[in-house]
Amino acid sequence: MTLRDVVITGIGAVTPLGDGARTLHERWTAGNSGIRDGEAACAQFEPTDHMSAKQARRADRSTQLAIAAGTEALADAGWDDGLPYDGELVGCILGTGIGGIETIENNHDQLRDEGAGSVSPLAVPLMMGNAASAALSLAHGLRGPVFSVVSACAAGSHAIGTALRMIQHGEAEAVVTGAAEAPLTPLSRACFEKMGAISPSGVSRPFDARRDGFVMGEGSGVLVLEAGDAARARGARILGTLRGYGSTGDAHHITAPHSEGRGGARAMQVALRDAGIDPEKVDYVNAHGTSTQLNDRAETLALKTVFGAVADKIPVSSTKSAIGHLLGAAGAVEAVATVLALRDRVAPPTINWEEADEDLDLDYVPGSARPLEMANGRPPVALSNSFGFGGHNATLCLEAV
């Protein structure tokens, strides 16, 4: 069986750098940061700029973020006047780490303070982890495979990889995919702080010797994936190709990565094999790069395992240096950022990287963005890594047009 190729025809994002995929790309590439006071909120995001008051009321903040990015991605794909395929052939697969936690917390407050009769009748459809996929499906008539993917901070990449497989195998002509997360709530903050994951300094500096934890953020990223033959037949503008996907489990520890990044390395190797691309042909890596001691060391070792002698020749940068860690949405937002970085042949910087740590000696693109150097003038190829609590690893392999 020959697998269909899968192309990216639309992207959307809401991030702490502002509304829009291109805003994310341009501002990150310029070295701007969306982090304020140790958190990365989407401060400019106004739900009713992107949806009706009724849609906004029926959505947790995480789903509102997904609706906004999804609407942008569909318009970017040229779908704003309607779907180019029968709705039964269009899926919607979104990821989330937690789901509607703001709704859960607010309703728990109601329950405790006012009794069971005071919880909202909308609580269940707002809090459920599949709410964002359901909302985009409803808003746009997507009637193919529709569900959500939950794998902590790897959810976005797992969602996109799942969507890739659906199109490759003919289950859908197109899939709207990505992830959203809105975890800036009292309970979520307290829980992540209690486990020591959050940066006490409030600075996201992936791979730097002084890194002391991640900066929590919120946001969403959505991509429209289409079967390449179908997209070309309708004359779609193609932003890039999703060449491969690898997904592995560490089976090592519930929160810590394997000390040598064994599962992460295998995810990258599986993605490259899936893509049919040799490691030395990779031009850029969008790292998981959380700014935690453990991840950044394990990921660096994993990159050395995969790329061997050429590991220090490949620019590796972390979007989280500019927008913090969007948990389940991270992989989706980073895939969006990687699509545009490849399109513009640029490696955006790892902001705040100044001090090298022992053995963390790759090219982390410190300071400012840099043009990608490709051999033979072929379209550049990138990997985008996501590693989640639970030992869930997912890597996407993307190629520019």
Binding site: K54, S118, P121
Partner: protein
């Protein structure tokens, strides 16, 4: 409280809440059907919660079986409050 509540108060409460749920204020009137203003079963459950709390009455799903218009909702609540 119920003894001093007028049908006008109840109509205002119903309309305000339906508008807050996203119904178009220019279209909401006594004669508008719930379908016209895109009010569905979830909206009715929310509205019920507000009305029960405000007027101290109990409504259940069966009460809404014959309801078609905004006026039907108002009349139902007026009947319960005054009854």
């Amino acid at each position: 409280m119920a003894t001093t509540t007028t049908p006008q108060d109840i109509e205002s409460t119903v309309v305000e809440n339906l508008v807050s749920f996203g119904a178009d204020p220019d279209v909401v009137s006594r004669d508008a059907t719930l379908e016209d203003i895109d009010v569905d079963s979830l909206d009715l459950v929310e509205l019920t919660q507000v009305i029960e709390e405000k007027y101290g009455i109990d409504l259940d799903g069966a009460d809404f079986k014959q309801i078609k218009t905004v006026g039907d909702v108002v009349d139902l609540v007026v009947e319960r409050v005054q009854g």
